[in-house]
């Protein structure tokens, strides 16, 4: 048995006595493993964070990120003054608040319901089926929405004609006011079943003896859910609420972008889709302006998360870190 192995074994005991350089050298193999991921992070995550300075410059491809002219907050002021500022910010907040208000209570309710089912086969079937849409790609989901809601060829049209005989129903895909409902409720169709998993996992920690005791005391199933199950998942629920509240300003790009058309842009243009259009999709890309809008969004996101977390930390026990 060599000395190195012995000193390794006692490392955890004597950690504070050894100089840090020695500790680092002893773990060189762990650092070797960590090398590639850290290089990846520095290149693909941290370098763009320095690149974000083009938001404060007037970027020209020939002069590069570091050589372009410094213009300070000009790009931000241009965004704040444009009519797209109010539209994109309001749409972003509206869409995510509506989604949160619909999704969050429904997920908890559904989890409580599924958890209380006595017939095991029925319970398994409900879970198996309601998880399926989670795995459908965004492109396919939006394609399904378009196909099914087509007034001419879709199921929407055929069901309408089943009740009203002939004719075409209104084209809800082209109505700006309907966009937010379509977006949120298709999201619920796709994600609600999946989002119950975390609550059902939390509910599995409930001691069955609690339920038995309450049952003997004459508590109904409904009462037991209210006084046993609900308090059990409250910490999980508040963490989920923090996470969701922190991402109010970062509504997903992919689905909204695919669902947009010329008729609903007024209600469907959000910050992330606007950044893409200004920066990459437009014929003459304005990299600096798009970066400024994106940076504005990231800063708000980050701030929101810290804020919500500190509020809940002060109110109770649960927090993210």
């Amino acid at each position: 048995m060599n000395n190195k192995a012995i000193s390794n074994a006692s490392a955890s005991v004597a950690v504070h006595k050894i100089s840090s350089w020695k500790r680092v050298r002893r773990c060189w193999q762990l650092y070797l493993l960590l090398f590639l991921p850290v290089v990846y992070l520095l290149i693909f995550k941290y370098y763009p964070m320095f690149g974000v300075q083009i938001a404060f410059r007037d970027f020209s491809p020939t002069r590069g990120i570091w050589g372009s002219e410094w213009v300070g907050f000009e790009n931000f002021i241009k965004f704040f003054k444009s009519y797209m500022f109010e539209r994109t910010v309001v749409n972003t907040i509206r869409i995510s608040l509506y989604g949160l208000a619909a999704n969050f209570p429904l997920a908890i309710l559904l989890a409580l319901f599924i958890n209380s089912v006595r017939n095991l086969a029925f319970k398994k079937a409900v879970q198996l089926i309601t998880y399926i849409p989670h795995f459908i790609s965004t492109v396919v989901l939006v394609g399904m929405i378009f196909q099914i809601l087509s007034p001419v060829t879709g199921m929407y049209g055929s069901i309408y004609r089943m009740f009203f005989g002939e004719g075409l129903p209104t084209d809800i895909l082209g109505k700006p006011g309907a966009f937010i409902h379509l977006y949120v409720w298709s999201g619920i169709w796709q994600g609600l079943g999946w989002s119950t998993i975390i609550y059902i996992a939390a509910l599995s920690s409930v001691d069955p003896e609690l339920h038995e005791a309450a049952e003997i005391d004459g508590a109904s199933r409904f009462k037991r859910i209210l006084h046993i199950d609900l308090p059990t998942i409250l910490p999980t629920a508040s963490i989920m609420l923090i996470l969701n509240a922190g991402s109010i300003m970062s509504v997903g790009f992919e689905k909204i972008y695919l669902m947009q058309n010329n008729l609903n842009l007024r209600t469907s243009e959000v910050i992330s889709t606007y950044v893409y259009k200004v920066g990459l999709a437009a014929g003459k890309s304005d990299y600096s302006y798009a970066s400024a809008i994106g940076l504005f969004n990231s800063v708000i996101n980050c701030g929101l998360l810290v804020l919500v977390n500190s509020v809940t930390k002060r109110l109770g026990e649960t927090s993210l870190w």
Binding site: N8, P37, F50, G51, I132, T153, F222, Y287, S298
Partner: protein, 302 residues
């Protein structure tokens, strides 16, 4: 017989019976609401073009035909897209899983010096990022636009999945095992390859599936970084056909009548939805438990 008698004897109170009746009804309605659109798509995909054009399909195929599928499989872009997606998914997932594992293990070791600093380096990127444009400019300056590397490397590591694996390794690999191995002179690398990896099979399965589904369903990176149609993954082809309606009449050869063409275009879309989701649908019943497990590990605060 006796089981039946016992069941009869247990008489739940009225209040509970009402509760169960209401809850079961709600769950049945919700499950049907999930199933209806799916069944409609499947039924339409097996119908004839005219049945689709005149929208007679609701929950059962009308004039059963496989023409939609024939059209899908004779579309050259769909086939190359399919091939590209399989390639990107296989290669991308391999890169993802490898880099996630080598990042997660050192960070799961409590005796790693400066562990807190490295953890911060990783988690900080979950809260703040340079954003779309600086990332695009980076990929552009690395000469990766238009190449496969642009869709494999920028997203090579998901910090969320890394934390998932780290949490698993911390809670399920006993420190006694490491200490015993170290006494026997086992190096960290050898311990990682011969002990940690075999013991982490369950979580490796989970993240492999997460990454694979992610690659299969992704379209955004391909949309901004790829520029040649031969390299497009399936989702981009799908987007062009399903959403942007870019289906040229050349792609539909057999039908002369315009109405038939419209029906054929729609039928193609229905069949395409099924074909593109087929691998995931087939795998789903067998791997469902791994996905669920992933959510459960993720819910442990690490």
């Amino acid at each position: 017989m006796s089981a039946k008698n016992v069941r009869k004897k247990i008489q739940y109170p009225l209040e509970d019976r009402i509760y169960y009746a209401v809850v079961n009804t709600i769950l049945v309605i919700f499950t049907l609401a999930i199933l209806f659109p799916l069944i409609n798509i499947v039924a339409a995909s097996f119908s004839s073009p005219t049945a689709v054009a005149t929208s007679r399909v609701v929950l059962w195929p009308v004039d059963f035909s496989l023409e939609g599928y024939r059209a899908v499989f004779s579309n050259p872009y769909v086939l190359t897209g399919y091939r590209n997606t399989i390639f990107y998914t296989a290669l991308g997932t391999t890169i993802n899983v490898s880099i996630t594992l080598v990042a997660a293990y050192p960070l799961s070791r409590k005796d790693l010096p400066y562990r807190g600093f490295f953890m911060f380096l990783f988690t900080f990127t979950m809260f703040f990022s340079g954003g779309l444009i600086p990332t695009y400019l980076l990929v552009n300056s690395l000469q990766m636009v238009g190449t496969i590397w642009a869709i494999l490397l920028p997203g090579a590591l998901s910090v969320y999945n890394m934390i998932l694996v780290r949490t698993f390794m911390q809670s399920s690999i006993p420190t006694d095992l490491l200490e015993a191995a170290q006494i026997d002179g086992c190096s960290d690398l050898r311990f990682f390859f011969t002990m940690v990896l075999p013991l982490s099979k369950a979580v490796i399965a989970v993240i492999t599936l997460y990454y694979a589904v992610g690659h299969w369903n992704a379209y955004f990176d391909a949309m901004i970084y790829l520029n040649r149609k031969e390299t497009y993954p399936l989702q981009i082809i799908l987007r062009d056909i399903l959403i942007a309606n870019q289906i040229s009449s050349n792609d539909i050869v057999d039908d002369a009548i315009l109405a038939g063409k419209q029906g054929m275009a729609d039928l193609l879309k229905y069949s395409l939805i099924i074909v593109s989701s087929l691998p995931i649908i087939c795998m789903y019943p067998f791997v469902q438990k791994y996905f669920v497990k992933g959510v459960m590990i993720g819910s442990i605060k690490g």
